[in-house]
Symmetry: C2
Subunit: 481 residues, 2 copies
Amino acid sequence: MAKALSPRPLPTILLVSLIPVASWFVVRPLLSPAPPLPALYTSFGFSIYAFLAALYLVPALGPTFKGANLKGRDLLKIYSDPIPESLGLACASIYVLLLILFIPFPFSNLVANLSSAKPQEPEGLTATASLHHELAMYLSSLLSLLMATMLGFLDDVFDIRWRHKLPIPIIASIPLLMVYYAEGGNTHVVVPLPLRSIFGVLVNLGPLYYVYMSLLSTFTTNSINILAGINGSEVSQALIIALSVILNDLLYLPWPIDFRIPLHLLGSQAEVEVGGVLHAGMSYGSKELVGRHLFSLYFMLPLVGVCLGFMYHNWYPARAFPGDTLCYVTGMAFSVVGIQAHFSKTLLLFFLPQIFNFLLSCPQLFGLVPCPRHRVPRFDPDTNLLHPSKTLFIKPPSNLTTLVLRTLSTLRLTELTIHATTGNVLEATNLTILNFFLLRLGPMNEKRLVQTLMCTQVAGSVLAFIVRYGLAGLVYDGDRH
Amino acid sequence: MAKALSPRPLPTILLVSLIPVASWFVVRPLLSPAPPLPALYTSFGFSIYAFLAALYLVPALGPTFKGANLKGRDLLKIYSDPIPESLGLACASIYVLLLILFIPFPFSNLVANLSSAKPQEPEGLTATASLHHELAMYLSSLLSLLMATMLGFLDDVFDIRWRHKLPIPIIASIPLLMVYYAEGGNTHVVVPLPLRSIFGVLVNLGPLYYVYMSLLSTFTTNSINILAGINGSEVSQALIIALSVILNDLLYLPWPIDFRIPLHLLGSQAEVEVGGVLHAGMSYGSKELVGRHLFSLYFMLPLVGVCLGFMYHNWYPARAFPGDTLCYVTGMAFSVVGIQAHFSKTLLLFFLPQIFNFLLSCPQLFGLVPCPRHRVPRFDPDTNLLHPSKTLFIKPPSNLTTLVLRTLSTLRLTELTIHATTGNVLEATNLTILNFFLLRLGPMNEKRLVQTLMCTQVAGSVLAFIVRYGLAGLVYDGDRH
């Protein structure tokens, strides 16, 4: 089976043809006449660079990582040759470095002046102050991403136990929180319509808002991390969530052509107003909303590039493993855009499969049901199929555990093995979404399972858009918040 | 010799007594009436925390580092038990985390308003813009420090070869350069008096200024890194340079009492003007100069704290090794303050022993003289003394090499072993400042050698102050730049 482990071939033609395309996008904003939203061109160009860098660097660095003992056996394969591990570090480094090199494009008056043919109308100190403010937000996001990278890699090197690694994203989110505070960030949230008679339209969460932000990063990071274990699962989740965020961002950009979403078909009460100063889609002419979603795009586009490049090598059968670093960085990137661009509730809607997986995992995470170190499906080397893995009860479970398991079994979320005479639970399938798929759809091979996961993720995002733009009108009275 | 390796005792009394003191300094600026320069109090409090954290965490993390194979033999000892390596990572993490937690104190209007009893006179958008600008500078510095930490640790894990690690500080300085550019940073330098007839008073270096900045970080980082190898050498260099920078910064603060330096004694032509709006020492009332040197203090004070704490465990005989991480982070910290606070020329004066060591090393670094992997002095286990280590010539050296070596030998910087009949150079002592000390002062033990290095560093700083404030008046016409 040495064949399965030889590196995937890399077409040189891709490198040769994409570099000029990417470079054109990077340079285009500097040429006169400047396009609208110039930095978006650069960001797109950088994303192609990110894709190419991940595609070519990941296999090149594999031997170095193996040499530094960063390697692991693929537990769901018949061969035992070690695969290089923690290559999410390479992806994260490419990602953060490109985001740093991107700084002058959106945040520099110098570049803006270079690219504008006629001198812009001076807007005085307000514009400069706003640019400094956005730059500070951007830099604090980079600091959080870099901390996530570093902590993820430390986790890989020191193999931190999962109970100790839960708070790691909170540490990584500290720069975000500190700068949010220093910049006098808004801690008000919009109250849903039914509760307004009690709380008013806006409620100031104060310090609770900071707790919310750090919990958000803990959730986005760890929820991707616990939905891992099969080839391509971490990176495909990140990819689809990033693409969903991008699609959502694009709705708020000032497109030159008017387009409207048939919101009334989705049952929305909100009137469809398209146009305004900036011809903005869902921004209704709010420059601030456009700015926020541009900010989000700057982080999401290169993330998609890096994920695509890495996925090529992580796809079944995997030639490289992501390690925890990739989960930490992608999770933190989603938190960053959710917080800084103020759409954390919408963001959470893109995590529906992760929320389901987390809720399903709770009995095991909180010690009600025994939790083995690995909950990945069981591999049958004879048929090459995956089956649900099981957790064993050494001693009879408590009444509470039995109740929870029987409820989950009734909901068809787990399968129990019951002792014929005592009626005690002897075994239960591990409580993860992957085992749930295998239970409901029958044994399948690893590639099929990751494809099922991806389809579920896409379906979740479609549902998220329906909820966000269809049903949200029932509890909120506008899309400005 | 197991005794030598048992951890150094940690007095609990230090922890119990210093925590309240540090906490008082952190909280003091929030109490009314606010002291002048409130954030400096907090910075000092944080530095005590940094000292305590390094003092207590370094021995606590030792076993974990050894478990992850981050350990090394002390080559200059008779025992061979491995010592935990790369503990500079712990220091760097404490340092960066405290700098992040420090953000709200100097850069937040909220904290400023909390601490001022009477509402300050509003200075409008200018003050806010300037605060945002300084925050962006601060955050870019943190990004560079965090990158240096990460790259240093990668170097320790992957054991990068020294020719490949030379450009690493350039990568770490990218955030600094990008934000400097985006913020429209000044690229003018003041021309020395004799050259003004040709270049004028100010000359715009343009892109060359960015080259200068990245070379500065390469120098400060690598020059500390190549002066390593004996217990305590890296951290003591960093400590003394940081203290010198702090002393220089203190000269520019608005002290409540007027003090004046007897510049005329040092031969300065500049008139001694003390006073002005802020009663500033060398700032002559310039708020900008005070701000720059405060910025520098915010970075240097906690660095001293961390270095002191680590030095306790790294002192002869060492219980913990710093790894490359410490050199990278301290080197980058010096570059950051030199660049952001605009005193890079003064900063370089504090590197006199490093400059000497670098120049002396050049023939070996650039391949003229064979360079063994380790150039540390040779340890004689019988006498416990260090002797100059030697490099061997397998084949007779070229004429150029012979010329260089004979010149260095005449200058008493190296000692050669000459073949009695052919006159060829057979051996030369390695070209480092440590071997130079041993050549000139005779064999000594490791503790004595590091003390000699520290005395030299202090003497270098004294000379630096004389040159900066005494002789600079001959080539520059004021201290405002």
